[in-house]
């Protein structure tokens, strides 16, 4: 879990954890969400998830929602939503740039 220092880009894992917490979830729920949404491409270890949640709580991006039996439920905070929005905007720019260049290449390939 290392976020890029210069560009402010989030790692994929961080981004997906933030997305999963738009509805309150506990650890196992987060793992399932990440696995389902990435169709099994990103599988998180339980120990890794623990470290990631600790780091995100410290950053103030997520917070403890409530205790359910012996499970902690987490939820995203306003700061966390802001970070997720910024990441979405960044991904959008990346997508647009990539698409404009790659589709132009495809067109020229098609003409020749």
């Amino acid at each position: 879990m290392r976020d890029h220092e210069k560009g402010g880009a989030l790692t994929e894992v961080t981004f997906f954890i933030l997305l999963s917490l738009y509805t309150p979830r506990h650890g196992y729920g987060i793992l399932q969400f990440v696995e389902e949404e990435t169709r099994g491409r990103v599988i998180l270890g339980a120990g890794t998830l623990y470290g990631a949640l600790e780091a995100l709580v410290k950053k103030g991006w997520i917070s403890l929602f409530q205790m359910e039996k012996n499970k902690k439920l987490y939820v995203i905070t306003e700061t966390g939503k802001e970070a997720a929005n910024n990441e979405l905007a960044r991904l959008h720019t990346v997508f647009e740039t990539g698409k404009s260049i790659i589709s132009r290449e495809d067109l020229t390939d098609g003409e020749t």
Partner: protein, 173 residues
Amino acid sequence: MEKRRIFFDIDREETWLNQMADQGYRLCGKSWWVYEFEKNESDGTYRYYVDRQSILKERENRAFCEFLGGMGIRLVTSQWGWHYFETPRENGFGALYTDGTSRIRCYFRMITFYVLLGIFCIGIINGSSGPYLFNLSIPLICNSVILLASAVMIFRYGKRILWIKGQQKLKEI
């Protein structure tokens, strides 16, 4: 059933426990180098994790174990900072750590342990004498062997850390 083993390598220990689980043996305790197993009804029902935590951070360790417990990963036993976790395979969990940074941290804890063990052994070797076996000092031989094993393990874990760091660098370009 009891099995006597000494592992210097935490990854090999985990692999061995999982091989035992494949044969239907469930870990129920460990003291010193004796692992206690009980025969399970079906083979490969459980998956095991071996993790090393700092023995000085009692509160953090407990929070970590509680978190894993909430996910269905139960602490079977712990000894001198080594933690043995068990989870039903049907939960579908992979490795405990899937990111390089936490694996590096775990390996660093192992290196710290072997450095301390090494220093301790040098201390014993310096002051060693009897009991003797065929005119050879037993503490001298035992501690030299442990010292050598510690040195080998420090080197191996160091190599693994460097490999992970290399992988991380590739991703960060």
